[in-house]
Symmetry: C2
Subunit: 243 residues, 2 copies
Amino acid sequence: MSYELHYWPTIQGRGEFVRLALEAAGAPYVDVARGAVSAGLGMPAMQRLMQDEAQTHPPFAPPFLKDGELLVGQTAAILHHLGPRLKLVGRSEAVRTWTQQIQLTICDMVTEAHDTHHPVGAGLYYEEQKPEALRRAREFCQARLPKFLQWHEAVLLRNPAGPRHLVGGRLSYADLSLFQLVQGLRYAFPRAAARTLRTTPAVVALHDRVAALPRVAAYLASPRRIAFNEQGIFRHYPELDLG
Amino acid sequence: MSYELHYWPTIQGRGEFVRLALEAAGAPYVDVARGAVSAGLGMPAMQRLMQDEAQTHPPFAPPFLKDGELLVGQTAAILHHLGPRLKLVGRSEAVRTWTQQIQLTICDMVTEAHDTHHPVGAGLYYEEQKPEALRRAREFCQARLPKFLQWHEAVLLRNPAGPRHLVGGRLSYADLSLFQLVQGLRYAFPRAAARTLRTTPAVVALHDRVAALPRVAAYLASPRRIAFNEQGIFRHYPELDLG
């Protein structure tokens, strides 16, 4: 049976963290909102679920995952749910919680990256908040981006099983998410990201290893991978790349 | 054995969600950074842990919890870890994930409430970003606050076990967190919160029931409860209360 991933159809956004896990595991899934309306998919199918008042576990926002009868929202909760099913997390409760903690820290950074172009609020266009964005991006590029990536570098270097993975000796969804974070930062803030990544070689090496995983490489080269763009979370506005 | 809660000693902040769970369960804990330096506690004890380079699970930021040898950071991950131990979550994996999903949505709203007074970044004072704060607070009060609280109202009303709890038929850490969210919103945005809460009677009733739980009531009346103030996440700046 296929998983159903529900997310905005034209951006990578937060849905990409879930998509990467499904792709890396070779799991069958339907990317619902990107499907054909004539096949009962597309945005109407996603909206039907979001507006279904009989839904006892309503998601607050996409992404959400339908796994049989179960509906799960919130990126980190979806990955926590999928982890054991896709063998993308260790078995023990302690290892699952640590992986979750790393994922939540990545999610925090994703929110902060988003807020560089939307510091005043998601209800307005970037063009309506450019001066505020400039101030927020300066703090992000100069303080937050280095702090977050250096934390991940420390996690890798201190991993008792070695620096090849964030948790233990094998691939977890946190590794995939860190890969995606590096991809997004390099797209949105090429100069600022490069400056910090020069100081975090273990993060870069992890990124490169994930990119070379056969299933991930095949996915990245496929039309299923949406290109970065200026409607997503990671947007390249050169004026905000205060590297 | 006592849990060790590590959090900034002068604000409720994110630590309060953990503190409420520990208090409501009657669990023994040490509020480390609020303890006496002479007893080996206080801020130096918290900072020692944060700066300990031998720590293989370094927290990115407070709050974090020490449970024996285990160190757990990120509010939602801490509560996910504590839930079964404090009997503040259902037993099944599906129920735990749903409770976590609600908690993550509450955490998102906490971040957005914080960003009303710090839209440009946490590294600057409120006084350095007042015009930006005004714009962000307008969107928060008029769009986000109602949207979040109405989502919680729907979760309560759709709960198959009845609207007394967010999940199933008994108290969970998500109920405690929603109580704290209402407390914070009423403090920071009295007019905007009142306007929305008039439309969410199930949320208000849950808040009142939690406040009346004997252990919670005793805690709230004790000196262990730090008062809201303008260094915390929920700050009362009347100009931002765009009710």
